[in-house]
Symmetry: C2
Subunit: 593 residues, 2 copies
């Protein structure tokens, strides 16, 4: 069924498609199905209100619904019953109910068919009409011609009775028993959306494989430019398989007018530019928050959900202007946000002010580290929003839409926000916190190593630092959002009682502001160093990091920036690691020079 | 001698005038006098290198200098001696040496005279030639026709032998004994630069009177708009007395071309606009840092070196464009900073990117709180750099100069910077830290009061908060630089163990970004509250305040933003104050309602 991984069919640029299948979008699903859940309770029956529910009647409704329907029919009398049967007769030929359907027939009703079918378990549905009003947009097309179960495992918002009830309206039959094995659709016939994900560099530290979430290993955090293969990967879903030549970017203005650009169009019409920029996952260092305060939800990223490279592409502001958006003069007051929609379902938005800022360097990027984007990083086109949390740099970019409002996606409205340390998820009104855009000042230790005079190499290193006795070298990165440069890194070898300043590397950056991390190192005589090293950075606005994980804790574990501690183990002069950084020890191994 | 307070004469827009009398500028003084200090030491004699020292010979040089001169004359032989005496004869008529001079004659050699004299102690100097090359610029004109001692008390950089030596070159005589009282120039003849300072609102909490440095009282910190009379005052010198009709703003481009604007020009040629903006002194809350970590240098500002109001003026970017600076298209790469020079001597600079940012709202302001600027706040014209530390909003603005470099003034190169907690002034290379521009996230408690049900007013208040029992109400402000809005204020009644969120006031702001502070309040049942309240704020980039004063300490005590604590005293239900906020108690008095 790999054909479902071919290039997605593109529907009209309808606003109905701007929301992916998200929990925020699910409110629309609830509103369409209020009737059914209400009908099962003693609440008075209310009329159906959506087109999806008025032009279809479920062929094999769930039991509760039958009883309700029966009750309603009895109450309404024979006229209603007759009308229902009349409607059923009219549609019987198109979707003969209760018949057995071969899986090969389901496959024929894929993305290129007029009628689009899916299976769920052993049941077959014709969801052609649902697609048009699907709150999650055209991503549902991924599943047609095959099994929808795997997708609903990923988009778990569907796993509710309300949604099951909607699907049941589109029931057309059951899978033919001849295609079943042990009474089930066989595993090789169940869609695996991840089957075409790319192979990854084995050095990446994988938290999850489906979707891929993997951090950069500490060895690779040492360089200013992160090699493409070990650039951290944060995927929310599968990796879309996109043909570069067929790829089209749709740019839609607030009045609904749209313009389409192929990748060749972008490269030929607009002046390319390059910047160096750091991307940092909102959850970077969540592990430290969970371990030092209390558990936060989300992947337990250590210090490696951050990487830096050179990006090449064209300016979003140039493309918006070409598409008809006046960025300077007669600005459209209705436009406050730019929605960025990816091919797999993910989307988000940034403020228009960032998008058109001549010094904002917002890019439609097609190269990374001097090469075409790797598939894991958005091939063939992604947004690159320097200075903002990486969640806004939407990969596999297919659509850019100007809007008065922020993206309604859960990644804009929910996941990437922080609340106070006293708040749990159940307590919050999500709308009261802003979506994370620019990020706060951050720093972390990525390496603690002994430079020993026992070896010639070690003595050469010590000499380079003007030292004669064994020393400890601590390395790391510091970074602040909004292009605010790092001006100072304070480091302590006595758990924060006294401080020194690390040496900041003078790596060459490109771009209007400081979009790249600052690498730093500090060397201290081993005899003077304690066991625990602590780091905190200061950016050009003199913002600094908070000390306490407890006071910064938020239930989503976002933007962990409390002082990072790493421990130096005296054991055999190896580089050890503190509790909060245990993988560092495993990864670094013996660093004694 | 109040005539010296009249409008300053304006010299040519020479670059030689762009530096005030500062320690950074004093390096130029040193270079001109190296010869003399070297001559007194065993270092070989070197030739004079400046015009000031080649066209004048001191009439009554200091003793050390005489011996050197004698030695040099002996060595050089009679030809040199003859040349010196020939030169002296030629100038004898213009400045008869060793004569007694009446103070009335000194007064006649003021700003309107061709020759400009000053006294220092009992000695009289004709500094006409020095003025042209004075590193501090035309501010020296303030003193001519009178006594320079008082100014050198203020500009203490002059109190060095090198500078005294320069002055001695211009000696022309001594004050006539008939004008002396007890062998001194009488006090009423000694210039007081502050004599024409305006009268201040007695509610202002004055740290110093000459110059005036006074903070807003806590009662007035309660309102979103600070009344003009109690807006905090941070003066570095006296308040210039400027005639609005005669005032001229000079705008000088990087190629030296300049344009002059009267206030009427500015008002008629450019579109006025208004914004609300908070100004915060770089030293706000220094008192807390000094008391909680260790003493820092500078005035011990409490929580009141911050105020907010509405400002009206014209856009600096519009004026720069009118003066010939191309802000969008063919930008002058030589321009990276905009110098802002005040009438009294103070100056600073901001990056050109801020000056021309269409959303930066940088203003040449002539109104404050709907009225002409009060004299203490820059009448008739000041710079207003919203989102930046107040030190860049230069008052009594006379000159705007585009430059490749930052202002060389000590307020740009030294005073307003921060270094690590391990650094003392003697340790630092000032050039290694950036001048403070945008400021970090800040918050403070300005009021802690009991709302008691004992009175009708108290019961009404409690009812407004839906409470029946006595409560504690805590109020304060939060603010972040760069127009970053405050999104959350966390407050704790148990010294930071647990947190709640304060209610943020929805005051109406004007401007492209959030230039104004956010007022907040929090009400907690008295029975649930502890003794110490702690506050920390979060801005839209999710930057938060550091916890520890020790870790933030810097020897200048700048940008104190560590968590602010205020204590509630149980004593007789009065509002008390913690040690770090002792004036709050004195000021607030009894707040029990």
């Amino acid at each position: 069924m790999s054909k479902t991984f071919n290039r997605l069919l593109r529907g009209p640029l309808s606003r109905a498609y701007s929301s992916p299948v998200t929990s925020s979008c699910s409110r629309r699903i609830y509103s369409a199905t209020t009737v059914r859940t209400a009908a099962a309770s003693p609440v008075p029956f209310r009329p159906l209100t959506t087109t999806t529910t008025t032009n279809r009647i479920p062929q094999k409704p769930p039991t509760r619904w039958i009883w309700k329907k029966v009750g309603a029919a009895v109450l309404a009398g024979s006229i209603v019953v007759a009308a229902v049967f009349e409607w059923k007769d009219a549609h019987a030929e198109a979707h003969p109910a209760n018949r057995y359907i071969r899986l090969s027939e389901v496959e024929r009703h894929g993305q290129t068919s007029d009628r689009k079918w899916v299976t769920k378990g052993k049941r077959v549905y014709d969801i052609t009409e649902w697609i048009e009003v699907h709150p999650g947009g055209p991503v549902i097309l991924q599943a047609v011609g095959g099994c929808i179960d795997r997708y609903w495992d990923i988009f778990s918002v569907h796993k509710k009775q309300d949604v099951y009830d909607i699907l049941e309206q589109y029931f057309i039959g059951e899978v033919d028993p001849r295609d079943l094995v042990d009474g089930k659709v066989p595993a090789d016939k169940v869609e695996d959306p991840f089957v075409l994900d790319p192979k990854r560099d084995p050095r990446l530290l994988q938290h999850t494989q489906q979707p891929c979430n993997a951090e950069t290993p500490s060895q690779s955090l040492g360089s200013f430019i992160t090699p493409n293969g070990v650039f951290f990967v944060r995927n929310h879903f599968w990796v879309p398989k996109i043909d570069e030549k067929a790829h089209v970017l749709h740019v839609e203005l607030s009045d609904g007018t749209a313009k389409a650009y192929s990748l060749a169009d972008l490269k030929s019409k607009f002046e390319p530019f390059s910047i160096t920029a750091t991307l940092q996952c909102t959850g970077n260092r969540r592990k430290h928050m969970s371990e030092n305060a209390k558990p936060a939800s989300g992947l337990p990223w250590n210090v490696g959900a951050i990487s830096n490279t050179m990006w090449t592409g064209v300016r979003l502001r140039d493309v918006l202007e070409d598409a008809g958006y006046s960025r300077d003069g007669d600005v459209d007051d209705n436009v406050r946000h730019v929605h960025l929609v990816g091919a797999e379902a993910y989307c988000g938005s940034i403020p228009i002010s960032k998008a058109v800022d001549p010094h904002g360097d917002v890019m439609l990027a097609y190269e990374m580290g001097g090469k075409p984007l790797p598939r894991d990083h958005g091939y063939p086109l992604r947004a690159l929003i320097p200075g903002h949390t990486a969640a806004r740099s939407v990969k596999w970019l297919e659509r850019v839409t100007l809007s008065e409002d922020e993206s309604p996606s859960q990644w804009q409205q929910k996941d990437y926000k922080c609340f106070g340390p006293n708040k749990e998820a159940k307590d919050v009104d999500w709308s009261t916190a802003p979506a994370i855009q620019e990020t706060p000042v951050q720093s972390a230790i990525t390496e603690v190593g002994v430079i020993s005079g026992d070896s010639r190499k070690g003595r050469a290193e010590l000499s380079r630092y003007g030292m004669k006795e064994d020393a400890i070298r601590v390395k790391g990165y510091a970074f602040s959002g909004g292009g605010r440069s790092i001006i100072r890194v304070d480091i302590s070898a006595d758990d924060g009682k006294t401080w020194s300043q690390a040496d900041l590397h003078q790596d060459e950056t490109k771009g209007h502001r400081s979009w790249s991390w600052k690498k730093w190192e500090w060397v201290v005589p081993k005899a003077e160093a304690g066991r625990v090293f602590v780091v905190k950075a200061v950016d050009e606005c003199y913002n600094s990091q908070p000390e306490s994980y407890d006071a910064q804790w938020n239930f989503r574990g976002n933007l962990t920036t409390a002082w990072h501690r790493a421990e130096h183990s005296e054991d055999d002069q190896n580089v050890g690691a503190s509790q909060e950084q245990s993988w560092l020890g495993r990864t670094l191994g013996r660093l004694s020079l």
